[in-house]
Symmetry: C2
Subunit: 103 residues, 2 copies
DNA sequence: GACACGCTTAGCCACTTGGCTAAAAGTCTC
DNA sequence: GAGACTTTTAGCCAAGTGGCTAAGCGTGTC
């Protein structure tokens, strides 16, 4: 059963890594923080990030795939919002890690 | 000052992304969880991860560079330990994100 | 229907990541 | 110092990432 347990653990770590990877990009972090203040359409986020819309759209697709945001099409626009506001807890943790790292 | 603020924000997001990226790999997550139970030498971790030692050594170098672990050379061996146990808080957060994602 | 608008997809590119093997470097024993 | 042992570094390669432009697709307006 040890092998089976390790296999299950590995699958769990892989899934967790997927979520972390989705957050591990400056532009995506910026978007997540912005979305914590309320829903935004793609063009608004593109303006803030300072990248082309196709690029931003793909970043959002990654966040959506990881289950961090969800989209809502209204007319010609698509609004994104945080699906799991708990994500914001990361920011504190990450900051404290960084502060310890600098020490 | 808006431009300067945005620039500083971007630098902050970039630093945070570095920490998240360091954690965003199944093998590294496994090692971090293992290290949360106490210090381990490289060969022990290599056995758990199931990878070659050079590979594990490089993963550990990434974690060290991100400020997540620190090393302690004792004789021919190198022991690693968590520098910021706070990292363990991530696991809960990530899990809850995943559960919401599956829903 | 024609057009503008917002967003996504596809294709291309440079760059990074993560695995391996081989070689080097440091430490302990004899 | 020779040899065994642990760890790191270097070099290679396949696969993934992230940016761009161009093209496609759905929606609202005239």
């Amino acid at each position: 059963m040890v092998a089976a347990t390790r296999k299950a653990d590995f699958a769990r770590y892989k899934a967790q890594a997927q979520v972390l990877k989705a957050l591990a990009h400056p532009s995506r972090l910026l978007m997540v923080e912005e979305l914590s203040h309320g829903e935004r359409c793609v063009c608004e986020l593109a303006g803030m990030v300072g990248a082309q819309m196709p690029t931003v759209s793909r970043h959002l697709a990654q966040l959506k795939h990881a289950g961090i945001v969800e989209d809502d099409k209204r007319g010609a626009q698509v609004f994104y919002r945080l699906k799991t506001p708990c994500v914001m807890n990361f920011f504190q943790c990450v900051t404290s890690v960084r502060e310890n790292a600098d020490r």
